[in-house]
Amino acid sequence: MTYLHSIGEYFLMLKGVFGRMTKASVLRNLIFKEINELIMGSLGIVAFLSFFIGAVVAIQTALNLNNPLIPKSLVAYAARQSVILEFAPTFISIIMAGKVGSFITSSIGSMRVTEQIDALEVMGINSKNYLIFPKITAMLTYPFVIAISMFLGIAGAYCAAVFGGFVTSDQFLTGLQDDFNGFHLTYAFIKTFLFAFILATVPAYHGYYMKGGALEVGEASTTSFVWTSVVLIVTNYAVTQLLLS
């Protein structure tokens, strides 16, 4: 029953988010601020992780290719497929659930604890729209982060595979283009958009409806990370089943 109540409350929150809109000029500034905090602020860690994940995938694949009948270019093929299909969109989103999700929950939760949300409501401002809508809009730029992640992941794989002496540059580039299916990119970006929405709204829900004090803000952030990850994984499964199987 508690879960059903929470799900209902989440959708009611979404209805409120798209309800009475905040003044456009104020909203525009909030969106830019959120893009800066949520997206630009995450580029460093995303770039770092993507590069090294791509590198590790390449090394692992290369080390497991013992059969001389399997072409070395498979290292690039495997790196490309894993990075585009899963590592960039899903793995990075889980990382973002920890970074961006916790930030969203704790910032909204702190506002709840310190009565700043009540202050907005008393002033006649739709607090759900004011606080959550800019985050959802900012997260629409999240696919750019994933695109960067894909590029750097493959770049990392190239560096590890070529400079590590596992394959030649030509072999890597051949494997990278081998049997390329454009729809895999479409699939990756469709799920990235869905993940972006989840990353903005599930943590916002946990922050907005939290009760208690500073300790509960911390608990809400942890719960938010767990539930955001769960929803991401389930959505990933559903989208994969629908689009790829």
């Binding site: 104020v26 702190s110 506002m111 310190t114 009565e115 009540d118 008393v122």
Partner: protein, 254 residues
């Protein structure tokens, strides 16, 4: 003026407000006092529209809140100023931005006009020159004064204060009390103030409502509160040493 008639509110079948009738007068500081759990904050939140009353009406200048359209409700809220217990300043904004916030949201004024109004109210609360500081960089008393400045910047008709003195030293508390009273008189505002602080009752209690177990147990002025023989009130009021001494002095005819 705010008139409350037969106000009821319950949470999970537990009745918190049990039929309150009271009138908050314009141009006066109307204090609500009572023990913790007596329903003061719920009463205030009902008046602010944060809680919906189960029964009864709240009339703002003669018009029941329940008959307000959505647009009228929004307009009414722009006429309300609220001073929260902790100040509730937006911690990502500077003092100036905090005070300017209601103007930015609800008016179409030019930035220069908004800034001049912000500086005017900051000067009124003795905070000129602090506009660029963040809330975390100023003291608790200053934060309360910024919150007052934000509450009055849009020239509200109704000012609500939830324990404005909590956590402040007696001197700063008196400054805040007097500031609220002066602003109430200067701008002819209907001020509703919740307090536990008996000093505030002595300082600014022009009209006092005493709540007990969700009911209005007593009402009167700060002068009358010393004369009452009502035990429910005296038990609460004379638990304060200060009031005991005032009472003793009165009895001695000092």
């Amino acid at each position: 003026m705010i008139q409350v008639k037969n106000l009821h509110k319950a949470f999970n079948n537990q009745e918190v407000l049990k039929g309150i009738d009271y009138t908050f007068e314009r141009g006066k500081t109307n204090l609500i006092i009572g023990q913790s759990g007596s329903g003061k904050s719920v009463f205030l939140k009902c008046m602010l529209g944060l809680f919906k009353a189960d029964k009864g009406t709240i009339e703002y200048d003669g018009k029941p809140y329940s008959t307000f359209s959505d647009e009228e409700q929004r307009e009414l809220r722009t006429e309300m100023g609220m001073l929260f217990q902790g100040g509730a300043l937006f911690d990502s904004m500077t003092v100036e931005e905090n005070v300017m916030f209601p103007l930015k949201m609800f008016t179409k004024q030019k930035k220069s006009d908004m800034l001049s109004r912000v500086h005017e109210v900051l000067e009124r609360v003795n905070l000129e020159g602090n506009g660029n500081k963040m809330p975390s960089e100023i003291s608790g008393g200053m934060q309360k004064r910024v919150a007052i400045a934000r509450a009055i910047v849009n020239k509200p008709k109704y000012l609500f204060c939830d324990e404005p003195n909590s956590g402040l030293d007696p001197q700063t508390a008196t400054v805040i009390d007097n500031l609220i009273q002066d602003l109430t008189h200067e701008n002819d505002i209907t001020t509703v103030l919740i307090t536990h602080d008996m000093n505030s009752v002595l300082e600014i209690g022009e009209r006092i409502a005493f709540l007990k177990d969700g009911k209005l147990a007593w009402k009167g002025t700060k002068e009358e509160i010393f004369q009452t023989e009502d035990e429910t009130v005296t038990d609460f009021v004379y638990s304060s040493n200060l009031f005991q001494k005032v009472r003793e002095a009165q009895l001695k005819g000092l």
